[in-house]
Structures are given as structure tokens and as C-alpha cells.
């Protein structure tokens, strides 16, 4: 098990910096259209904040905050959001991921609907990337046993 660090400095500084990093990840996801970044990058930053949490608070505490079950739910929820945004377009009679027809069910004109569709795709990608990155990291550092490691 990756233990809680006994080192006061690293623990305190990480505690202060983790919320800021998480908020930055969400910012990158939300502003994917106007600045560099998007779903994948934002998801990676969110995963990085969880890696920092593993360093600072230990694996046990991290798993209590972000459980295995929640991780599985998130990693499939992202794909679900992605796929259903595409399928809605298909069901409304356009191509896969052709967002502009979403204006039929959303209270928005086609340009705004394209915008919202793109945003929901990015949210889906971000959620999946975050969950998969976190589980990859935990599997790698513990050799898949979630016990001893690093």
C-alpha cells in the first residue's frame, strides 16, 4: 500500500494545490473551443490531481475519496455521454456526431446546438480519460495487486 506521507511539507502544499489543479482541469475542459486544450487534456490534468493525491494522502485515502466503483462508473459514463450525443444525431436523421440537428430537441438555434454538442462530447472524453488514467496509474504503481507498490 502506498502510505500516507509523513512529510509535513509535501502533505500541506499538496493539500493546498490539489483543488486549484482540479479547477484548472475543469477550466481546460470547459474552454476547449477558445484556448488550447479540450477533453483529453483536461481529463489528464484531473488525473494528475489524483496522482498528487496518491502521493500526498496515500492510496488508501485516495481510494476512499474516489472509489473503485465510482471509477468504473465514470469510465463508462464518459463513453455513454459520447455515444449518445452521436446517436441522438443519428436518430434525428443526420450523420453520426452532426450536432446541428440537435436544435430540434434543445432550446437553441443550430449554431448554439453545435456548440453544446461539441461541449458534451468534450465532457464525455474528459470523464473517461480521467477515470482510465487514474486506474492505469494505480494498476501500474502497485503491479495490479493494489497492495504493495512504489
Amino acid at each position: 500500500m502506498i502510505q500516507r506521507t509523513e512529510n509535513i511539507i509535501i502533505r500541506t502544499i499538496c493539500r493546498i494545490l490539489i483543488p486549484a489543479i482540479q479547477l484548472f482541469g475543469l477550466y481546460v475542459i470547459a474552454h476547449g473551443h477558445g484556448s488550447p486544450g479540450g477533453g483529453f487534456q483536461g481529463g489528464c490534468i484531473l488525473a494528475a490531481s489524483f496522482i498528487l493525491m496518491v502521493i500526498a494522502l496515500g492510496l488508501e485515502e485516495t481510494k476512499r475519496r474516489f472509489t473503485e466503483k465510482l471509477n468504473n462508473i465514470f469510465s463508462s459514463l464518459g463513453v455513454f455521454v459520447y455515444a449518445w450525443t452521436g446517436w441522438m444525431c443519428l436518430l434525428l436523421g443526420a450523420n453520426f456526431l452532426d450536432y446541428s440537428v440537435l436544435s430540434a430537441i434543445l432550446p437553441a438555434d443550430p449554431i448554439k446546438a453545435r456548440y453544446l454538442g461539441m461541449f458534451s462530447i468534450e465532457v464525455g472524453v474528459g470523464i473517461t480519460v480521467m477515470a482510465v488514467m487514474v486506474s492505469l496509474f494505480i494498476d501500474l504503481v502497485t503491479g495490479g495487486k493494489h497492495g504493495e507498490g512504489l
Binding site: 494545490l17 481546460v28 496522482i51 498528487l52
Partner: protein, 88 residues
């Protein structure tokens, strides 16, 4: 002013290459880590300078902040990784 910024970024690149010497030939593992970290600090400044040179500061600033975060986490992780059998 643009020429000044360009000169500063070239000078910083030279400094980054000098720091790379320790990252390659450093006697211990820890020397290599701080060599990479030193290259990272120079790269951070170069990224923002590039933003000023290309007149897109608002764009490069996000990359620079991300780079700072990655450098921070990378340093901590490497330090922990190279210290065998211990808690950081």
C-alpha cells in the same frame, strides 16, 4: 522590444542546453532529476516569451501553467520513485 525578447529566449535555450549536461552525465540519479527540472524552468519562461513574440499570450499562458503543474508533479514522483523502500 521583440528583438530583446527573442534574444532572451535564445539565451535561455543555451542555458537549458547547459543544464542538459547534468541530465545526461550526472553522476547520480538525483543529479539527472534536478537537471531535467532545471530544463523545465527555462522552458516555462521560453513558453511565455513565445506567447509575447507570436502575440498570443492568452493562449500560451495556459500551456505554461500546465507545464508548471506537470513539472511539479513530475519532480515529486521522480523523487519518490528513486528513493527505494521509503515513504516520501
Amino acid at each position: 522590444m521583440d528583438n530583446f525578447l527573442l534574444g532572451v529566449s535564445i539565451f535561455l535555450s543555451v542555458l537549458a542546453i547547459l543544464s542538459l549536461y547534468r541530465a545526461i552525465f550526472g553522476p547520480t540519479d538525483m543529479d539527472r532529476i534536478i537537471g531535467v527540472g532545471a530544463v523545465g524552468t527555462k522552458t516555462l519562461v521560453i513558453l511565455i516569451l513565445m506567447g509575447f513574440i507570436y502575440k498570443r499570450v492568452d493562449m500560451f499562458i495556459d500551456i505554461a501553467l500546465l507545464y508548471a503543474i506537470i513539472n511539479f508533479i513530475g519532480g515529486l514522483l521522480f523523487a519518490r520513485f528513486f528513493m527505494r523502500k521509503g515513504v516520501l
